[in-house]
């Protein structure tokens, strides 16, 4: 069985639903099974069900690499259930941490920051830039992940050293830092910087001290109430 275009499309489409049934017990367990089923025949499905019924969790965009590699392993058929289970267990954590660092912690906030600045200055351009640029990277990993996973099979983990992860992350860290500095110029010279600085320092301290995010939102709420009352 090879990775035909129709088979690829089925796996890609199923990948968009990987978190649909996310639960604390199995996390993306059912989503991963559904994603594998999309690219498997009836005999393979029986084997997949026996081997992967349970816990699975990785970064949703990175799951395509693991799905591609797992399907290749089933196509080759010379791998035991224990080996394949170990392979999935190891790769899911590696891809999860890389994906979280790349997308949730760097690429998405950096792009949202750029989009917010552009939106305030130029209106609709900001949201448009975000949707196009973010989904370029998002869909790139979803699409290439299936192909590269299938091509590299159990060696797919070595792809984490590729420039698409390391260099892209570094570039967006720099862009994020640059636009963080630029953010201050969003207002105008008339803006009350004496008011802005203490609030900024307060929230940096709250974030650095790792206060719970609910508490931080409550602090924002309190701040707004105090400021509109004054």
């Amino acid at each position: 069985m090879r990775l035909s275009f129709t088979r690829f499309l089925k796996v890609l489409f199923a990948g968009f639903f990987i978190q649909t049934s996310w639960s604390f017990f199995s996390m993306q367990g059912m989503g991963f099974l559904y994603n594998l089923f999309a690219g498997a025949d009836k005999t393979q499905r029986r084997k997949i069900l026996k081997t992967h019924k349970g816990f699975f969790n990785t970064h949703p965009y990175m799951s395509s690499y693991i799905v591609g590699a797992t399907l290749r392993a089933y196509d080759e058929g010379n791998i035991s259930p224990d080996e394949i289970r170990n392979f999935v267990a190891i790769t899911q954590t590696s891809f999860a941490s890389t994906g979280d660092l790349l997308f949730w912690q760097t690429l998405r906030p950096a792009m949202l920051l750029i989009a917010a600045i552009l939106a305030v200055k130029s209106g609709i351009i900001g949201p448009l830039v975000f949707v196009i640029a973010f989904n370029f990277f998002h869909l790139f990993h979803r699409i290439r992940g299936i192909y590269d996973g299938y091509r590299m099979s159990r060696d797919v983990i070595y792809i984490l050293k590729a420039k698409r992860f390391t260099t892209v992350r570094h570039i967006f860290e720099i862009l994020g830092a640059f636009f963080a500095g630029l953010l201050l110029s969003l207002g105008s010279l008339k803006m009350n910087y004496l008011l802005l600085l203490p609030i900024t320092i307060l929230f940096i301290l709250l974030l650095m001290k790792r206060f719970s995010s609910v508490l931080i939102i409550l602090a924002v709420l309190l701040l707004i109430i105090i400021m509109v009352m004054v």
């Binding site: 950096a110 917010a116 900024t200 650095m208 939102i217 709420l221 707004i224 509109v228």
Partner: protein, 214 residues
């Protein structure tokens, strides 16, 4: 726009958060733009969306951690602003919409935990029967949609009929900009300031100052 229709659209947009696709359209800046477009004032939608985006820039859904629902805040904030503005002053509407947005972010985070616990049942049912994977997996869309709809509908219902008393404080766009910029800057510094990137933050600030002056 009708508040029920707006609630349904909002709940559907929020499915993008994790249940389908994750294309980023549920982020406050995009959701604000879409709702603004539907309500006939895209500029206000973009502005409120961008401000809420800066406030919710840090919200990392890593592992089992479920942070406050910034996506819910974006939809509730912009949607209730447009509904409140019909019968109230813009300053009153903005103030109440922002308060409702922040409260809904906290409630949304809690509701998400309930929705995901509900998915556990589908998983156990699937484990017991060992078949109908497609059905049990896609059942997950129901709690995801209902959670969003249950959160948004009462707030939009309230916003649609509420007349805010004159004594209620007003929030100007300038004040909201200061608050959102401060928190956005704090979020950005927390995420991006490292020894290796200090120089780029300074460079960005200098470029910003140059833009301001010239």
């Amino acid at each position: 726009m009708n508040f029920i229709l707006l609630s349904i659209i909002g709940a559907l947009i929020m499915l993008d958060k994790y249940a389908f696709g994750e294309f980023g359209i549920s982020q406050p800046i995009i959701a604000g733009t879409i709702i603004g477009m539907l309500c006939g004032d895209i500029q206000s939608g973009i502005f409120i969306g961008a401000m809420l985006q800066l406030i919710f820039l840090v919200g990392l859904p890593i592992g089992k951690d479920i942070p406050p629902d910034g996506q819910a805040a974006g939809i509730v904030g912009t949607g209730s602003y447009f509904l409140l503005r019909v019968t109230n002053l813009a300053g009153h509407a903005l103030c109440l919409a922002l308060i409702l947005a922040l409260i809904s972010a906290i409630i949304g985070g809690a509701l998400e935990i309930i929705a995901r616990r509900r998915n556990e049942r589908f998983f156990h049912l699937f484990m017991r029967k060992g078949k109908h994977l497609f059905i049990y997996h896609f059942f997950g869309l129901i709690p995801a949609f209902l959670k969003n709809f249950i959160l948004i509908l009462p707030i939009f219902l309230l916003a649609n009929y509420l007349i805010i008393p004159r004594q209620f404080p007003e929030l100007s766009r300038d004040l909201l900009t200061i608050i959102a910029l401060s928190i956005g800057f704090a979020n950005a510094i927390y995420l991006f300031l490292k020894k290796s990137t200090v120089v780029y933050v300074i460079l960005g600030a200098l470029c910003g100052l140059a833009l301001l002056v010239f």
